[in-house]
């Protein structure tokens, strides 16, 4: 074990410590593990995608939050980051990408366009990706700075950390998916 102080450890969750044992809830352990190794799937269509490239490069370094590698396959990804204008013609493709992701899956809408259509208030642009898939975190900005995207990822980590392991099989969650016609 290194004594060096620049290694940052995740805080231990709440629990009972005794001699040679530590007891806590399964939820918190699973949540901690999930939150600190989110595999991102970038779905970048425009300028927010450029900001995300800066976010994942060495200067801002999203890897500090456990996102070691971009997953360009939806089947091995936890966190879908939608960055940029989504035209209505592209909506079925985004939806298919979301459907191909395995549970548990989370979605961040990065920037004004993905969140609400942004300035593109027009017939050809989807007015926010939450019209077709459920969204967990919205990052404002046009485009947002890398710090804002990182803040959005940290907000999502909070959600992931506190999520119950049973949430994905709950009737509320099934209902949410059913409202988007996703089975």
């Amino acid at each position: 074990m290194s004594n060096s102080s620049d290694i940052k450890m995740a805080d231990a969750p709440e629990g009972f410590t005794g001699e040679g044992f530590f007891a806590t809830k399964l939820d918190t352990v699973v949540g901690m593990a999930r939150a600190n190794s989110l595999w991102p799937l970038p779905f970048a269509t425009s300028c927010c995608g450029i900001e995300f490239m800066a976010t994942m490069a060495s200067h801002y370094d999203v890897a500090r939050f456990g996102s070691e590698r971009m997953s360009f396959s939806p089947r091995q990804a936890d966190m879908l980051l939608v960055m940029g204008t989504i035209a209505k013609k592209m909506a079925p493709i985004l939806r298919q990408v979301y459907e191909q992701m395995a549970e548990p899956r989370w979605v961040i809408a990065v920037g004004a366009c993905a969140s609400s259509g942004g300035i593109f208030d027009t017939y050809s642009v989807l007015q926010g990706i939450d019209k077709i898939i459920p969204v967990d975190v919205y990052v404002p900005g046009c485009p947002p700075r890398p710090e804002q995207i990182l803040d959005g990822i940290m907000k999502l980590q909070d959600i992931v950390r506190s999520e119950s392991v049973r949430r994905r099989s709950s009737p509320e969650y099934q209902e949410l998916l059913a409202s988007y016609n996703i089975s």
Partner: protein, 173 residues
Amino acid sequence: MALETTVIQDKLTNKFGEHVTGFIQLHDIFSFEAAPDAMSEVMGFLKNDPLLRFNFLTDICGVHYPDNELDRQFAVVYHMHNWMDNVRIRFKCFLNGDTPEIATATEHFLGANWQERETYDFFGIIFKGHPQLKRILNMDEMTSFPMRKEFPMEDGGRTDKDDRFFGRTQDNC
């Protein structure tokens, strides 16, 4: 010796008579109007005539004039370019507002395929004889033609946008 616009005009009027009208120099481009029935022959003449040699089709696009009389509510605009003399030309064909139909230009230029599909997609202008006239940029399920003036530009399904912040009053949304 550069290709003079008077030469172009004389050759066209000699060949097509009253099918070509309204010759005018607009800024740096020589323009005229052609009858829609004669479009294909005019384009073929401009392309193949040994003096005119407009060998390149720069663009095809549509225009909607809903306030014109019924026979002139749509226009198709053709831009051509002579690479040898570096001269450009533009001509318009006006079409009926209820049945906007014109012959395809793909028999002269294969590149017209994309441009005519785009014009069909946005204006609903039918190019007779086009090999595959279907939507190219918009969704296939779309039933309207969005660049027609009566089409509302805003998405009718939007729920979270306050028109006051988009410079719109209640009347035009």
